[in-house]
Amino acid sequence: MSAYTISIVSIIGINVILAVSLNMISGFCGQISLGHGAFFGAGAYAAALAMFATANVPLAVVAGVIAGSLLGIIVGFASLRVRSDFLAVTTIGINFLFVGFVRKQSWLGGEMGISGIPPTGLGAAGNMVMILLMACATVALSLYVSRSWMGFAFRAVGEDEQAATTLGIGAGAYKLAAFGIGTALAGLAGALYTFFTQFITVDAFDFIFSVMLMAMVVIGGIGSTWGVVTAAVGLTLLPEAIRFVNDYRLLVFGGMLVLVIRLAPGGLAGLTRNLFDRVRQA
């Protein structure tokens, strides 16, 4: 396997974790978050610091997960206080605050970022395998959650919070749970990203990146794990496979986002379901 394949598979794995975890917050539980990059970044920075302190990979993963979910639960508490459209703006705000804060922190490398992060010792291929395993675990978790009573309750909260409450479902607790799980996974992705690049700068976690993640979720079909996985893989590969997409990346992604919402709001998942229904009818 060439170094190129290894790195593209690694990035795909990381993007899958990010998109699937965002889908748990925004798709399953209906809490639109446009600041997923912040949790990703928190995990990456925490893992980087942990690697410098201990050079212990599991510990760094744990640090990333904790940092991501801590920030996530704080935002989750905010989500309990604000209306849903305020939440989108609040999460954008969290993203800008995170970037604006880290930029100025010399202990986090400020603008320079953090480089020379100790390697995991697994090599590029080993890292890739680790990333893939984590991505598979994330997908499995997502599939499990959507089948469990928790996923059921998430759907209820996402659709009508008050109605859910009258069925004994504590909407607040579930929103926190969604943010907690989703952002913990984003933190995990952050740690893996740190292992992959061994060098992080805050620009990698900006608002535009969060928008790209949301694009993956929406294009894949909000709420559908497999749809989102497909979109994450496809949208990561597309610029690689097609030169035109590479040169006009934002044009294409933005355009796809608009077209999908406008013409096929169910995303890829909706399209397949639709096709499947028609085949069955025929």
């Binding site: 305020f86 705000g93 100025k104 044009l251």
Partner: protein, 289 residues
């Protein structure tokens, strides 16, 4: 003098933010959509101003071109993007709007180039006045004066003219307004037209102030204006005006006094998040709740 200089800066920032955001808040008030692509309208206004001004040699024609082109664009966004999505929850058109902004921003880059465009003749940009040691530039004065005219005009329009009253009524009580013969669809187009035209004027003025229109010009608007209209209590024009001025001043002083640990963009959002935690319904209260 120094603090007055900063205040002048802050007020002119504030007026600029107010004109950028008022269209956004109008759209929200009417349709409950966070019209993020308003930033693309703003950028289009800036490009139209500079390109038309350079082509004709007249700044006035530049602005005229901008306030002709952008309302059309704004109304097209409503017709082609938002109207078909009105039945969905508000997140859906918002995400589409974000997509449109990203698309437009890259389109500006492709069409007008990475380098950006500058005014060929722009004496206006470099004219300043000195009031007892406080320096005020012509563009700053233009910003404040335009904002004052615009907001006063908006106020008069919505209280004194038939169509304006109908518009305001539609925003607050759509059904009652409809029963009095106000066509809600017309009002929506009017809403987008006026909001877009205001953004275009703001865009043109910012273009003058920077003497540069680059593809990223709208981006700052997109997120800062969002913060502002939430601070202003979504849908409230007066709240937006107040929030803009406050944010302008906070930024003007904040850049100097807290710039060492937080950058300017983050200041707006820090204020936003603090406010939302204390008053989840925003400055202007429960009007949009």
């Amino acid at each position: 003098m120094y603090y007055i200089d900063l205040a002048v800066t802050g007020i002119s920032f504030g007026c600029m933010y107010a004109m950028m955001s008022v269209g956004l808040t109008l759209v929200y008030g009417l349709l409950r959509i966070l019209h993020v692509a308003h930033a693309a309208v703003f950028a289009l206004g800036a490009y139209a101003t500079v390109l038309a001004a350079n082509a004709t040699g007249s700044l006035a024609l530049g602005f005229l071109a901008a306030i002709i082109v952008t309302p059309l664009f704004g109304m097209a966004i409503y017709r082609l993007l938002y109207e078909p999505l009105l039945g969905y929850r508000p997140d859906v058109p918002m995400i589409a709007s974000v997509g449109l902004l990203v698309l437009m921003q890259d389109a500006f880059r492709v069409v007008f180039g990475e380098q950006g465009v500058t005014f060929r003749r722009n004496a206006f940009s470099f004219t300043t006045f000195d009031f007892y040691g406080v320096t005020v530039s012509a563009v700053q004065i233009a910003l404040v004066v335009t904002a004052a005219i615009v907001f006063l005009g908006l106020h008069l329009f919505t209280t004194r003219t038939r169509i304006g009253v109908g518009w305001r009524a539609t925003v607050s009580k759509p059904r009652i307004a409809a029963s009095f013969g106000v066509d809600p669809i017309k009002v929506r187009y009017l809403n987008f037209a006026i909001g877009s035209a205001l953004a275009a004027i703001a865009g043109g003025l910012v273009a003058l102030l920077n003497n540069l229109v680059d593809p990223a010009i709208g981006f700052v608007v997109s997120y800062k204006a969002l913060a502002i209209i939430v601070l202003g209590g979504l849908g409230s024009v007066r709240g937006t005006l107040i929030a803009s001025l406050v944010l302008g001043l906070v930024e003007a002083y904040g850049t100097i006094f807290i710039g060492a640990w937080l950058d300017r963009d983050a200041i707006a959002f820090l204020a936003l998040i603090i406010l939302l935690m204390i008053r989840p319904q925003g400055f202007a209260g429960a009007r949009a709740a």
